[in-house]
Subunit: 437 residues, 2 copies
């Protein structure tokens, strides 16, 4: 697809893999099957078990070596009913989604006055006791940005908000969804209760509902009735699935790429993170087909904990967990900046419209973080996330949102990066260590 | 805002009114209050009664003459629970909305196999008995177009589909929402049962859910459980509200502009049709403020029936019922094409980016149609509807979707058109009659 000048065979092979990925649909078909036949696959549920079986059978059928499906214990949290309405000054239905990990309201719900904070910092500035018996509502907006960095900036609103509201006397907590859309669909996600603080029920409001509450509250007192009935099962199990493409030259070196198979329950887990699974699976499959050479693990979350012995052997790790759109930049492993590996990779990705960011990768994703912390160098391929937070934890997270061409471009970037890392003589661990020192 | 050359005083006044509308926010503030303090206002409900009181008090406060709030009897239809899920081959939740006028399922719902039709014509071609005991599902898509004409082309799918499916033995009916979005929000709207055909429960699927069912059905048999519990009240009442700006020169001539105050129940009725109310109210208010001259009625639906005596006096009628975006073209009353009135109007609207369509207006909207049928000439101002059917009968029909600048442009177009029609010596009725003959 793009012209090669006089280049070494690794460069030519990387180009061939990249170009093959642009028309390959292996990953796309996998995420279609995953989302169509299984749909949502919340961690700890039977649906995720079926998804893990599908992933396992797909890896086996594609000829991967050492395919493993392993379980690990988790607490499963399950959504129940979620009803919210304004009861005064006039009756209006509200669209909410219970936060993951939230406790339930009493069965009959709670019904009380709300206190609206336009900024989360205003809630943090509120005095103890000032929210006694009230529902705290934070309506702060999350801005739309391409790299998704506004999510990290806003996440305390969801993670810490319930406990911060409870400290000040609130009996329940609502916040404007951490989302950039304007639809009547709430964005879920996990909340974390602080130790020693009363656990209060918490839910996200859709963006228009949060705006409506802000307008209503500006006119006078507003009361809300809230019924949330989530449940938990502390004895559930979840799954990780892995497969390998075995190498011969350096069989003890592992390049690890992963994505998470589980999903939130409102959509069908297409862009978060079926698309990531499709990208790494598509890339791995092309490498397996092409030459069945170096060693590669295809991994889900919890892999690091279960494979602690592998960690010293992982030379490079990467994770795809940011949707289905095209890659626009990549971040090199620390210390790799002025190496032939990186120059070849930059040249190979340039025709895809991908540029090299000048800062090294410090983290490739949540699931990779434990490995990075353990000294594993990482590479990061950043996808266009301009509309990722329109969708990612909502009911809109469905297969139709995946553009196969953009997914293919991301897969092309990954296959080239992974292949060149396999073939590279560069000691990524040593380079990263030298870089730090 | 735009320059006037040597022109008559009507032209200058029309320009002033137009330019005043561009910064006026009277209509915008009304729709904000309407949607915030009342929200949804389904016909026949107490919420619509409150909305009619708000409209009445607004017209009185703005100094309109002859303000009337009149009730008329209707059958109120109320949404109940609506639950749908795929039960086989795997459990998946579906997003549906019961069609207006639909009967309920049995209390425990129905659970049976589906038959999917990619085109509505395929359902119509199905043999009697071929759907016995099944749920018919039509997944035909409605294309996105600027003028909304695809809605009229598709509307039989919703209006007639349930009876056509019932004729062939189906026990329930689902169709892909008549919408152009890709969100997990269903589009409601009325269905019409045929006389003498069994009435079966019917609902719209969100677009992604319809696509998911099509994919699932392509893989094998699919079963759905459906619970719909709507109810009806045959003895409800609805409201129309009207006000006048009284003229002096031709007090027996009426220029009638209207919009509908009621809404579907899932959103807050902002773009359908709070925005239309805002536009005609804003235009009328500017005229009332400016000179309190000619006679004008501000009207809701059912006005024609209740004011049959007025019909011979209505010289021109128009309706705003296509959202909150800018006007891009206007259609002249029949027979008015080469008149000074039209040339002045075209010149006045041109700086707003509005062109004159060469075909005359044949209909300005559903509520105007009875008057047009009764010989009343109409004028049509067409708004950009490129995303109107993303939203119009969904939960997304909320205030945040209204751009005040675009609403102001539409109001500016209306105020100029209405003012120039008031002032015109043209006999619109005679012109229309001559045009027909």
């Amino acid at each position: 697809m793009f012209e090669a000048s006089a280049q070494d065979s690794d460069t030519v092979t990387a180009q061939k893999l990249r170009d093959a990925a642009l028309t390959d649909r292996f990953g796309y078909r996998f995420v279609e099957t995953l989302t169509t036949t299984i749909g949502q696959r919340l961690a700890g549920t039977e649906a995720l078990t079926r998804a893990s079986l599908l992933a396992e059978s797909t890896l086996l059928a594609a000829g991967f070596d050492n395919v493993h499906r392993e379980s690990f214990p988790i607490t499963a949290w399950m959504r129940g009913r979620e009803e919210a309405e304004v009861t005064a000054p006039s009756s209006q239905r509200l669209v909410v989604a219970t936060l993951g990990g939230s406790v339930a309201t009493p069965p009959g719900g709670v019904e009380t006055e709300i206190v609206v904070f336009a900024r989360y910092s205003q809630l943090l500035a509120a005095a103890p006791g000032s929210l006694d018996g009230k529902i705290a509502v934070v309506t702060e907006a999350m801005p739309r940005v391409m790299d998704g960095s506004s999510y990290g900036a806003a996440i305390s609103i969801r993670r810490s908000g319930p406990s911060e509201a409870a400290k000040r006397g609130a009996i329940a907590y609502l916040h404007r969804s951490l989302g950039t859309d304007d639809h009547r669909l709430a964005h879920v996600g996990a909340t974390n209760y602080l130790e020693g603080v009363k656990r209060i029920p918490a839910a996200a409001l859709s963006v228009p509902d949060a705006q409506q509450l802000a307008r209503m509250a500006a006119l006078g007192k507003v009361r809300i009735r809230l019924v949330l009935t989530p449940t938990s099962d502390e004895h559930a199990q979840s799954w990780t699935v892995s497969g390998e493409v075995r190498g011969s030259e350096r069989p003890d070196e592992i390049v690890l790429i992963g994505a998470h198979l589980d999903s939130w329950d409102l959509g069908t887990g297409a862009i978060d993170d079926g698309a990531g699974v499709a990208i790494v699976l598509g890339a791995a499959n092309l490498i397996a087909q092409f030459f069945g050479a170096e060693e590669m693990n295809y991994s889900g979350p919890a892999y690091a904990k279960m494979h602690a012995d592998d960690i010293p052997h992982i030379v490079l790790a990467g994770e795809a967990d940011f949707g289905a759109r095209r890659v626009y930049t990549f971040l090199a492993p620390a210390g790799a900046m002025n190496t032939p590996f990186l120059q070849t990779l930059a040249d190979t990705l340039n025709p895809l419209g991908i540029f090299l960011t000048r800062q090294p990768a410090t983290n490739s994703g949540d699931d990779i973080a434990p490995r990075h912390d353990a000294g594993v160098p990482v590479i990061a391929l950043r996808q266009n996330g301009i509309d990722y937070f329109d969708i990612h934890h909502t009911a809109d997270n469905t297969f139709d949102k995946i553009d196969p061409q953009e997914l293919a471009q991301a897969t092309a970037a990954w296959v080239a990066a992974v292949y060149l890392a396999f073939q590279s003589e560069l000691d990524f661990r040593k380079a990263a260590k030298d870089f730090k020192n």
